[in-house]
Homo-oligomer: 335 residues x 2
DNA sequence: CTGAAAGCGCTAACAG
DNA sequence: CTGTTAGCGCTTTCAG
């Protein structure tokens, strides 16, 4: 930059302004500066700039599990929106551990990210992290998982509705003994469970004994949980699973037991991960609009980051959409 | 920092040194500084520090596709190693486009990352990007995909061996007409193809007419490619697929055609993505050690970044490991 | 429209 | 062991 100024016989300031096409600079000078800058292949030093502007154009994306393609898709959505605006995305993988999540967020704050998008693994009521966040004044958006007791921007599905939708579908397919492999004690897990209960109640159906078992996030836990369910008597004829990986594990267990999906047991997952279609039995699922979630979260966040005054939190809900594949299709559905 | 110094009646420098536990500072002073720093909840300003040290502790990870769980796993491996060393990881998703990759890398260079790990989508012989990289003096490690004509650090499998291993296995299982759904014109694609040819040659077998069809990266292309293969006459009885997603798509096509896997057509993929086990037919595959690749790359890179003088490029090869599941098991294998 | 002065928060180099 | 001086590359403020 100094070089450009010297070469052109103008001051540093002129160059600085020209580069950021600041208003008060003559068209002609600007051109000359830009030309010389290209010749020298000059790149503004982003760090020096940050130092004085207090903006890093870094955004933290905190996810519990990159391997779960739902989150990978969210990440893509976020990048698609934020990239063009000049932001870089720093991804942190918390492995579903609230403690690790806190550390990661703190590091990102030290790094002075301009904003954060978080799919939190904090248990309901664990609000400490968010107090830190609020104090820091760095804008953030929660995705996929609301956290009870936290007033914050949120983008995601209404989990109750998702659970109800999946369960209603099983009822419609003629299932009479519907079980649920529930997720962790987060908003997603409890919400989906609530939806499951709501749907059954509405149809005057009861939750069978031991019909709610606890899976966690992955296929192995789904497998284990299903094996438990297979022990119950009477055996369920339909299972709504917390998410697709869990459902995939569950299918494996059912088939191994020599039973058929969906004839003996119909199964529905959630998340519509991109390989749902390729599983042993193509998996019925509820789509949450993963990339839309990423994009909306990015939009919302960029508004907050751009705003000079803090904006009051908003909540954006995506609509869960049922996708019926073989794992739950027991009746010829008329389209 | 100024505050700490003032409160303690020492100079800025003393504080600065104490915080970085620089050698020449008295134990006592250091304690006092650290104590006060905790009281004030002081966080060193990382940007200001970068400005003078010329180190950002940022590492760019450039991947062609986050949705492919192979890369997600690599990312996790990288994070596991680099996180504890104080590096943050900036992930870029290039969508398999060389052009986008170049732009992303350039942005990362402007951002002054300390190093890069790249699974490149540059075609063989497309070396421009790497010339830029070399000129920038920023150390980088190529993973998974070597690029012909580029002397650089590399961590990954020998693709020839991988291809040969998979093909030999099909031969061993009694397949006599083995086809290949090949990948893109990158080192991985051409290497695996070469291995496939080598294995056939070694057994005096010929490549059937139109037995090499071009898939790309994903399941849809695998599906299409397989449908093409099904038209050939005689039909192949074994197919080695570029990677697991392609193989998953291929299986779908075979089953849809009313044929059986592996009885009619045996299938082997590559990559051992974590859901390989849950597919319509559990998929035989070749494991490349995804997380080991990530970890080794991280180790190698951190050595380069730590080193004061540029280190000469090294290549680290992981051993491909065959994993036999149902999609290719035609004989009772004696273990 | 252009420029001079001041400083962002920190550290390297050297002197005491 | 501690402190002084200088400066990283840029922008903000305000005066020409």
């Amino acid at each position: 930059m100094k070089d450009i100024a010297r070469d052109l016989g103008v001051s540093l300031m002129t160059v600085s302004k020209a580069l950021r096409n600041h208003s008060d600079i003559s068209q002609q000078t600007r051109e000359r500066v830009l030309k010389r800058m290209r010749e020298l292949n000059y790149q503004p030093d982003w760090i020096a700039r940050s130092m004085v502007t207090r903006r890093t154009y870094l955004v933290g994306l905190v996810l519990p599990d990159l391997m779960h393609s739902f989150f990978a898709e969210v990440a893509k959505g976020v990048a698609r929106k934020l990239g063009p605006l000049g932001y870089q995305i720093v991804i942190s993988n918390t492995e579903e551990e609230g403690e690790a999540e806190r550390r990661h967020v703190e590091v990102l704050l030290t790094r002075k990210v301009d904003g954060l998008i978080i799919a939190s693994a904090q248990r309901n009521g664990q609000v400490e992290l968010f107090e830190i966040l609020d104090r820091s004044k760095v804008p953030y958006v929660l995705i996929d998982r609301m956290v009870a007791g936290v007033e914050a921007n949120y983008v995601g599905v209404k989990d109750d509705d998702l659970g109800a939708l999946a369960t209603e579908h099983l009822i419609e397919q003629g299932c009479r003994r519907i079980a649920h492999i529930r997720g962790p004690a987060l908003a997603t897990g409890t919400g989906r469970l609530r939806g499951y209960r709501r749907a059954l109640a509405r149809h005057g159906m009861e939750v069978g004994p031991n019909y709610i078992v606890s899976g966690q996030y992955g296929d192995t836990t789904g497998y284990e949980a299903m094996r438990e369910l297979l022990q119950t008597n009477p055996r369920p004829d339909g299972v709504f699973c917390y998410n697709d990986p869990v459902a995939a594990g569950a299918i494996k267990a059912v088939l191994e037991a020599g039973l058929k999906v969906p004839e003996d047991i119909a199964i529905v997952g959630a998340g519509n991960v991109h390989y749902s279609d390729l599983l042993r039995v193509p998996l019925s699922t509820v789509d949450q609009g993963s990339s839309v979630i990423g994009e909306s979260a990015a939009d919302l966040l960029s508004q907050c980051m751009e705003a000079k005054a803090p904006v009051s939190p908003r909540r954006i809900f995506t609509t869960p959409r049922l996708i019926v594949r073989d794992s739950s299709r027991r009746k010829e559905t008329v389209v």
